[in-house]
Amino acid sequence: MKFPIYLDNNATTPMDPRVLEAMLPYFTEKFGNAASRNHAFGWEAEEAVDYAREQIAKLINADEKEIVFTSGATESINLAIKGVAEMYEKKGNHIVTVVTEHKAVLDSCKHLERLGKRVTYLPVNKEGLIDLNQLADAITDKTILVSVMYANNEIGTIQNIREISKIARSKGALFMTDATQAAGKIPVDVEADGIDLLAMSGHKIYGPKGVGMLYVRRKNPRVKVTAQMDGGGHERGMRSGTINVTGAVGLGKACEIAMQEMPTESVRLAKLRDKLENALLSTIEETYVNGSKERRLPHVSNISFAYVEGEGLMMGIKNLAVSSGSACTSASLEPSYVLKALGLNDELAHSSIRFGLGRFTTEEEIDYAIPYVQQAVAKLRDVSPLWEMFKEGIDLSKIEWKAH
């Protein structure tokens, strides 16, 4: 086994060697600009990009003409939200989204609010799911876009996308989803799911960093977004800039592999994830899974180990690369806004660890991780005054803490 063991696959994934292999020729001998229409170098690049579009489109049951290449999911999301707000400004000025969205969505919306648009941020329940009635009530005749992430990056909760899009579209709003964590991991189908715009990224699915795409529906309805960058009018005028050919080829190959392996891989990962989660929950008291256990990505487990601080725990399990909802390293000292939105108290949010399994995670690694985490939690609880107080039956919420 090689240490540290990588269990942070929701942050990024290692590139699959098959993806790298597909990309390599396009750095050197096949270096053409896909927009060069007059010679073989350009044709070769264009052909590669078109093939990648097909591979990507297949993964989400779209048409290849509906794929717009970008630099990543953040750009895709910015283009979708700001581009729709600008394109449809005569139709309305209101957007509905959710408090647990990625910062790319939330901050794009905040930007629009500063420009005078209106945004409704829906709350979630303790599983991380939105209330469909609340959604329906939030949509007005001025609502142009509903943006709800497919699956959450911190807790893996999968929203009820089909029902959400039905409500949005029945009220005349476009439906967009940030599928960065979901695409390539679970079935995503823009037709069956009723998706008008979808953002995804290469590096979350064992592809390269620096490439992503925005799916923009071409019919029923035909969706348009205003370009957010001026230039040569590439990508049907929606995203100027020479296409990142190697990136596009990599994203395409990554989608193809993800699609082929999804049926077996999602089962294998869920089994490993459940093994880890069940072992930790059954042997360590006061341990809680955050988010929905039923509607969840197969490879994610977000667990709060009460009375142990997340960053302190990460130091104790340094052979595992994981992440924490504790924000002890950031200047704000604020724990994860996603976990807080679930209704977790700050202490439990600070005590959370996200385990993100991936294509290269082995059972041997999980078998190593289980006792390793158990020991670290036990050791830190021995040092924790909160644990001692809890064991003495003291209600921590009744103590007047000298917050600093």
């Binding site: 142990v308 601080e309 504790s326 924000a327 000292l333 108290n345 040092v383 005054p385 921590l396 600093h404």
Partner: protein, 137 residues
């Protein structure tokens, strides 16, 4: 962010973890921080009534590695010091000893607060006026 060797050492082998009898007159207890801030320190001292020397010090800390190391180091420094000497411990001494980065300075501040809170608790129990504490936050 990489931790300094000394932080790793105190985190891996914390000194003086434990609990003193908080009801004893010779024991002073300081509990500072808050769970919602991600760190809580409890630092206790046992003081010799004759010499006013700290004969034992214990801590328990909920927090990151730097918070655990700061309080572990504080207990090490407190043992053998008189109360007056203990009051001179400054958070920047802890920062320097553990090479704490700027984002972790609050851990050392918390440790200094814990020392002063423990001393005050002991003073009150022994009929002395509590000291005016400088407000750090």
């Amino acid at each position: 962010m990489a931790y300094s060797d000394k932080v790793v050492d105190h985190y891996s082998n914390p000194r003086n973890v434990g609990t003193l009898d908080k009801d004893k007159k010779e024991v002073g207890t300081g509990l500072v921080g808050a769970p919602e801030c991600g760190d809580v320190m409890r630092l206790q001292i046992e003081v010799d009534p004759e010499t006013k020397t700290i004969i034992d010090a214990k801590f328990k800390t909920y927090g990151c590695g730097s918070a655990i190391a700061s309080s572990s180091l504080a207990t090490e420094w407190l043992k053998g010091k008189t109360i007056d000497e203990a009051l001179t411990i400054d958070n920047m001494d802890i920062v320097e000893e553990l090479s704490l980065p700027p984002v972790k300075i609050h851990c050392s501040v918390l440790a200094e607060d814990a020392i002063k809170a423990a001393i005050n608790d002991w003073r009150i129990k022994n009929g002395l006026e509590p000291l005016e504490l400088e407000e750090h936050h």
